[in-house]
C-alpha cells in the first residue's frame, strides 16, 4: 500500500446503488413534507404565507434527491488490498476506513427490499472493536459481495490454522 491511495486501486460500487440512495433519500424526506403540510393546514390557515412551507420543503427534497445520490455514489469506493479492506465514503464528511482481514470476526451480506429491486447487496464486516466495530460496504452486486465474503473468510481460516 502506498502512502497516498491511487485511484486505480479503487472500485466504484454498482451504478444501481444510485437509485437505492435516491429512494432512501426520498423516503427520508417524506415525513418532513407530510409534517410541513399538516402544520401548514393546521396552524398557518389564513396567513399570507400559507402554502409556502410545504412547497419550499418539497422543492428542497426534490433537489437533494436529484443532486445528492450521484455525488454520494461518486465518493463511495472500495479497495481490496492483499490483506486489507479499504472503504472510502462520505460527501461532506469523508471517511476512509481500513480493516485488516485478520481482524474480521464475522461477515454478513444483507439485502433489503430496495437492494433487491435494484440488484444490489450490502457487505457488513464485524470486528472486535467497540468503536467502529461494524464496517458496511453497500451497493455491491450480490455476486461480488459473495466473492469478497469468501475472500475474507479464507483469511480468517488461515489465521486460525
Amino acid at each position: 500500500m502506498t502512502a497516498e491511495p491511487e485511484s486505480e486501486h479503487f472500485q466504484h460500487v454498482e451504478r444501481g446503488y444510485v437509485q437505492v440512495i435516491r429512494v432512501r433519500t426520498l423516503l427520508g424526506w417524506l415525513p418532513l413534507v407530510i409534517g410541513a403540510t399538516v402544520l401548514d393546514r393546521a396552524l398557518l390557515d389564513g396567513w399570507a404565507i400559507q402554502g409556502a412551507l410545504p412547497v419550499a420543503i418539497g422543492l428542497f427534497a426534490l433537489i437533494s434527491t436529484a443532486a445528492a445520490p450521484p455525488r454520494i455514489w461518486q465518493r463511495l469506493r472500495y479497495g481490496l488490498h492483499p490483506t486489507l479492506l479499504q472503504v472510502l465514503r462520505g460527501w461532506l464528511f469523508h471517511t476512509d476506513t481500513i480493516v485488516p482481514f485478520v481482524r474480521v470476526q464475522h461477515i454478513d451480506v444483507t439485502r433489503g427490499p430496495w437492494d433487491k429491486l435494484f440488484g444490489t447487496a450490502t457487505l457488513v464486516v464485524h470486528t472486535a472493536g467497540t468503536h467502529n466495530s461494524i464496517v458496511t460496504l453497500p451497493g455491491l452486486s450480490p455476486e461480488r459481495a459473495g466473492e469478497i465474503r469468501e475472500l475474507i473468510r479464507g483469511h480468517i481460516r488461515s489465521d486460525l490454522e
Binding site: D96, I98, S133
Partner: protein, 491 residues
C-alpha cells in the same frame, strides 16, 4: 483442584449456599419497589390494614420466589466449563467455557460478609449488558476462591497455589492507605447529591413538603422566618458566600464518602496470569484481569491533580469493570514512579523520542465551526448588551480551552506502541500496543479539508463505547503515513 478431567455433565451438581436466602432477600425486596409506593399510598390515605396485608403479601411473594429460585438453581463445575441450570417454568441450561471467561469477579455485600458468602460473576466479554450471564449469587467464600483458582489454573496452566496464597504475603503491586484514599476523595469532588436531591424532591416533594427547587418554597420560608429575612437581605454578599462554601463542602464530603466506600484498602497484586484488584469498605470486590486481555492503557489526570503529581491508571480490556465503568481502574491515585511497575508488568516498550504536535488547524476549525454562535452573540450584544457580552465571554473561554487542549495534544509512534496525549481539563494519555488495533479510520470534514488536515480514529476492542481513540487534525500526508505505520503489521 487437581482432579482428573471431568466433563460438566459428570460433575456433581451444586446449589447456592442456603444462607443466600437471607442475603438475597434484600435484592428481591428492592425489586418490588413499585409495591412500596402502593403501601405508602394506602397508609397515607388511612387504609392501614390494607397496607399491612399488601406488605405481608409482598414479603411472602419475595420469600417464595427466592426459595423457588434457590431450589431450581444448580451449577456444575467441569474441568473446561461451568454449567448453570436455572428457572422454574422456562428452564435455562447455560454453559460457560472457561476458555471464554475474561474475568472472574468476586463481590461481597455487607450482609454477605457477615454470613461468609460471596457472589461470583464470570464475565465472558459478550456484548450487551446482560450481567446475568454466569452469576452465582451467594456461595461460600472458600468455594468462590476455589472456583476462581480453578479457572485461573485452567487458563494460565499454572499451579493454582502460586496464584493466591503466595500473593497474600508478597508486596502488592500497588496499594492505597487511608490517607491516600482520602486524598483521592478530595479530587473526586462531586455534586451528585444535588442531582439526587433534585430527583427525590421531584417525586416526593409534594408529600414531604420540601421543594428546594421551587421559588415559592423559599419565599414562603423567608416570609415565615421574620427577623432572619432582614438579616439575610442585609448580608446578601455574605449569604451568597456562605452558600457557595456550603456547596463546596458538600461536594468535597460526597466525593470523600464515595471514594472511601469504593477504594478503601485498595490493593493490586500480580498473580499467575494477571492482575488482581481488591477494594471496598462495605462491599468488597475482588477482580482478576488477565494481562493477555489488556488492549490499551489510559493515564488520566487533571490540571490540579497534575500539579500535585497525581495520576490515575486504567486498563482497557475485553471485559467491563464493575458498575458499568468500562475500563478497569488499577490505580485511582498514584505517583509516576508507582505506575512504572504496573506498566512494566504489561511488558510494553514506551515509544522513545519527542512527542509530535498536531496541526494548529485543530483550533482554527473549531473556531470556524463556532462562527454561527458568534453571529448569534453579536446580534445579542446589539439587542441585549449584557447577555451578548456573557455569550461572547463564554465563547472566548471555550476557544481558550480548545487552544490549551491543542498545546497538550501530541502523539508518538514507536515500533510496537502508539502514545497519544490530549486534553487540558481531562488530561489523558493513551498507550496503545499496535497489535490491539482492529480498524483505522481516516476522517475529514468540509472545514478541515480547507486546512488540508485529517483525523485518525482507531477501533480497539473493549472499553466504554463512547470514547474512541483519536489523533485529531494531522496534515493529510502525515495522517496517511501514521495510518500506514499503524497497519504495518497487517500488510
Amino acid at each position: 483442584m487437581t482432579e482428573v478431567a471431568l466433563s460438566a455433565d459428570e460433575a456433581p451438581p451444586e446449589r447456592l449456599h442456603p444462607l443466600m436466602l437471607l442475603s438475597g432477600l434484600g435484592g428481591s425486596l428492592r425489586g418490588v419497589a413499585g409495591g412500596y409506593a402502593g403501601i405508602g399510598y394506602l397508609a397515607a390515605t388511612g387504609r392501614l390494614d390494607t397496607a399491612l396485608i399488601l406488605g405481608a403479601l409482598l414479603l411472602a411473594g419475595a420469600i417464595v420466589s427466592l426459595l423457588v429460585y434457590w431450589r431450581r438453581f444448580t451449577f456444575r463445575v467441569g474441568t473446561d466449563e461451568l454449567r448453570i441450570d436455572s428457572g422454574l417454568i422456562s428452564r435455562t441450561h447455560r454453559s460457560i467455557p472457561f476458555d471464554r471467561v475474561q474475568d472472574v469477579d468476586i463481590t461481597q455485600g455487607p450482609l454477605q460478609r457477615l454470613l461468609g458468602l460471596a457472589s461470583v460473576t464470570f464475565d465472558t466479554g459478550a456484548s450487551g449488558g446482560s450481567k446475568e450471564e454466569g452469576a452465582l449469587n451467594g456461595i461460600a467464600v472458600a468455594r468462590a476462591h476455589a472456583l476462581r483458582d480453578h479457572v485461573r489454573a485452567r487458563r494460565g496452566q499454572a499451579p493454582a497455589a502460586v496464584g493466591t496464597d503466595a500473593a497474600e504475603d508478597a508486596r502488592p503491586l500497588f496499594a492505597m492507605d487511608l490517607r491516600r484514599v482520602l486524598t483521592a476523595g478530595v479530587f473526586n469532588f462531586s455534586l451528585a447529591i444535588f442531582a439526587g436531591l433534585f430527583g427525590l424532591t421531584q417525586t416526593m416533594g409534594d408529600v414531604i413538603g420540601f421543594e428546594p427547587f421551587e421559588r415559592q418554597f423559599w419565599t414562603d420560608l423567608l416570609a415565615n422566618a421574620g427577623p432572619l429575612t432582614g438579616f439575610v437581605q442585609d448580608h446578601r454578599f455574605g449569604a451568597a458566600f456562605a452558600g457557595l462554601l456550603l456547596l463546596v463542602l458538600v461536594g468535597l464530603l460526597t466525593g470523600i464518602a464515595r471514594t472511601l466506600a469504593r477504594d478503601f484498602r485498595f490493593r493490586l497484586d500480580r498473580t499467575g496470569t494477571g492482575l488482581r484488584r481488591r477494594r471496598g469498605l462495605f462491599t468488597l470486590t475482588d477482580v482478576t484481569l488477565p494481562l493477555r486481555r489488556v488492549q490499551a492503557a489510559l493515564i488520566l489526570t487533571g490540571p490540579v491533580r497534575e500539579r500535585f503529581g497525581w495520576r490515575e491508571l486504567k486498563l482497557q480490556s475485553l471485559a467491563q469493570d464493575q458498575g458499568g465503568g468500562g475500563d478497569h481502574q488499577v490505580a485511582p491515585l498514584a505517583r509516576d514512579e508507582e505506575l512504572q511497575p504496573i506498566l512494566a508488568e504489561l511488558g510494553w516498550q514506551l515509544p522513545q523520542g519527542p512527542l509530535q504536535p498536531v496541526s494548529k488547524a485543530y483550533v482554527w476549525t473549531f473556531c470556524l465551526a463556532l462562527l454561527p454562535v458568534l453571529l448569534i452573540a453579536l446580534v445579542q450584544a446589539a439587542v441585549l448588551a449584557p447577555l451578548g457580552l456573557l455569550t461572547l465571554a463564554l465563547l472566548g473561554l471555550v476557544v481558550a480551552a480548545r487552544w490549551l487542549g491543542w498545546r497538550r495534544t501530541a502523539f508518538a509512534l514507536g515500533d510496537d506502541q502508539l502514545l497519544v496525549r490530549g486534553g487540558w481539563w481531562q488530561r489523558r494519555t493513551l498507550l496503545l500496543p499496535l497489535q490491539s488495533v482492529q480498524s483505522v479510520d481516516l476522517t475529514e470534514n468540509f472545514i478541515g479539508r480547507r486546512f488540508g488536515t485529517a483525523g485518525i480514529r482507531i477501533g480497539v476492542a473493549g472499553g466504554s463505547g463512547f470514547s474512541a481513540h483519536v489523533i485529531p487534525s494531522l496534515p493529510r500526508e502525515k495522517a496517511s503515513q501514521v495510518r500506514n505505520a499503524l497497519l504495518s503489521r497487517f500488510a
